[in-house]
Amino acid sequence: MRKAKYYPSRSSRLTYSNIVLILTLFFLFIPLVVVAIYSFNEDKGTTFTAFSLKWYKELFTSSPDLWIAFGNSVLIALTSSFTATLLGTLAAIGIKWYQFKGKTYISTISYMPMILPEVIIGISMLIFFSAVNIPLGKFTIYIAHTTFNLPFVLMLVSSRLDDFDYSIVEAARDLGASEVKTLTKVVVPSIVPAVMSSLLITITMSLEDFVITFFVSGPGSSTLPLYIYSSIRYGVSPLINALSFIMIIGIMLMTIIFKKFLKTVAASA
């Protein structure tokens, strides 16, 4: 009789790989856990004195500047991610299926914002905006975020289109659909998962961006990362801990919902 092949057992014993795993998870998540714990600390300092919700109360009742920054962040994240997803999706379709002059050139430079260091993008944007006399503010942040989000959308949608049978487009045209109807009734529904991923990733990237935003923001257009940065210069306020914990929970929920959504899309496609 042949012996069964030997596989390393997945026991809970302290093997080498288990130790590495535990340490990795520990270093990855312990800061988050610390933030969560200290958000419920009554004292302002680093010693845990008593459980309290006072920072949450202060966060929601007496921090108007923070909420303005939060509102700016959300507004810019939603508008720039929507614009980038729209432009990026159309660009991906154009680069993939249409023939035009300078096609390779355009598809190459479209990925530039992804490769260039953020500092350089930030400075060049700043120089550009002052050169053409656009006052720095929410609008310039919106432009900057749309720009650096675009290549990510392009990449995600392009790779989805690589698996897409072009005959489907021809079939739609053949059956009587115009170019626009083919796009809205056939192509877009087929690439919905990639478009949704793009939207989610670009929202996240816009929400968390600091470096580029720092260069192109103006008075009164602080986003959340900028606000947090400016407030910790005078010591970390437990207020930020409370905010962080809320954001961690929010992002976890969003990820779970998105995964569920992708599963239902995958099952029906």
Binding site: E170, A171, A269
Partner: protein, 385 residues
Amino acid sequence: MESLVATPKKGVSVTVKDITREYEDGFKALDEVSMKIEKGEFFSLLGPSGCGKTTLLRIIAGFDSPDKGEVLFDDKNILSLPPEKRSSNTVFQTYALFPHLSVYDNIAFPLKLKKIPKNQIDKMVRKYVSLVQLDEHIHKKPNMLSGGQKQRVAIARALINEPSVLLLDEPLSALDAKLRQNLLVELDEIHDKVGITFIYVTHDQAEALSVSDRIAVMNHGRVLQIGTPYEIYEAPATDFVARFIGETNIFDCTVLSSEYDEDSQEYIIKVSVPSLAADIWVTDYEDQEVGSHLQFTIRPEKIQIVLSEERVSLGHHRNLFHGIVKEPVYSGFQSKFYVELDNKTIVKVFKQHTTYLDEGPEIEWKDSVAIAWRAVDGYLVKEKD
């Protein structure tokens, strides 16, 4: 639709005039191709891959445009129209179903674009769903269907617009052999029912022979021969056609003599075939100039193979050779024999497994045999390709 009487011919005639298509890299996919496809005809474009058959179909559909030439539906030049304005619909090799829509919505797609009332759409969809026998699968998504079912959906979807021409681009090549046969027969029945013009692209000569009214054999961007399956098989115009359609023996030859025979109204021609080291008889409807170099071809199933010469039953103007069975290949309904003649030339012979021919005992490996064929069964092929 259930009537046994053939539906009157519908659709349009398709005229292709001097179509030339050259790609950017200089490859000539089509070189002055012309043909006329009759109204209601089942017409096949047959050829090896890269012969230009798919390019021609795509030009007719509107997915590609030629550098030169015209395509007419009846008398109307349609080359300036986009695909959605042409009265043709296409069935694709890869099915090209819309993955996010159910069978029902896939088939209803063209009608929904036209903003036809819902109850009318429903009636039409159900009619075409039952035409392709998919009634049970109507609410499934394409990824839950087998290849054959997917292609049926594609056929129904292409027909529901009631096109004048149905273009089929190797629709069966992704299916397995048995299914291919069934669907081919079904396709033929659908053609009889709807009565419109079908243009069918295939590289499979058996498919083309079994369903087509007429076939255009293509190679290197040119049409070599247009004819009924019978004409294509029995009287190939070039040696390429002879080789591509079915199996054949083909040899260079020189015409020695040619005389007209009143009884058969054919020319009886004597040619010398160096590789057979003999002069043989062959008939032709056309006179051939003495001394001209042609090719002689004989289908393997038209050659009689027997163990002794006395059993050869063929009379006047027969061609008789002796050889040894080098390689017998049993393939069920027939056996193939590779017979080596005295001068080492190999001749392919197919023999049906029947007892009524009474041709004596089984022929086996290394048997010495006599092979013979009648002059009328061989033919001369004019041009080399």
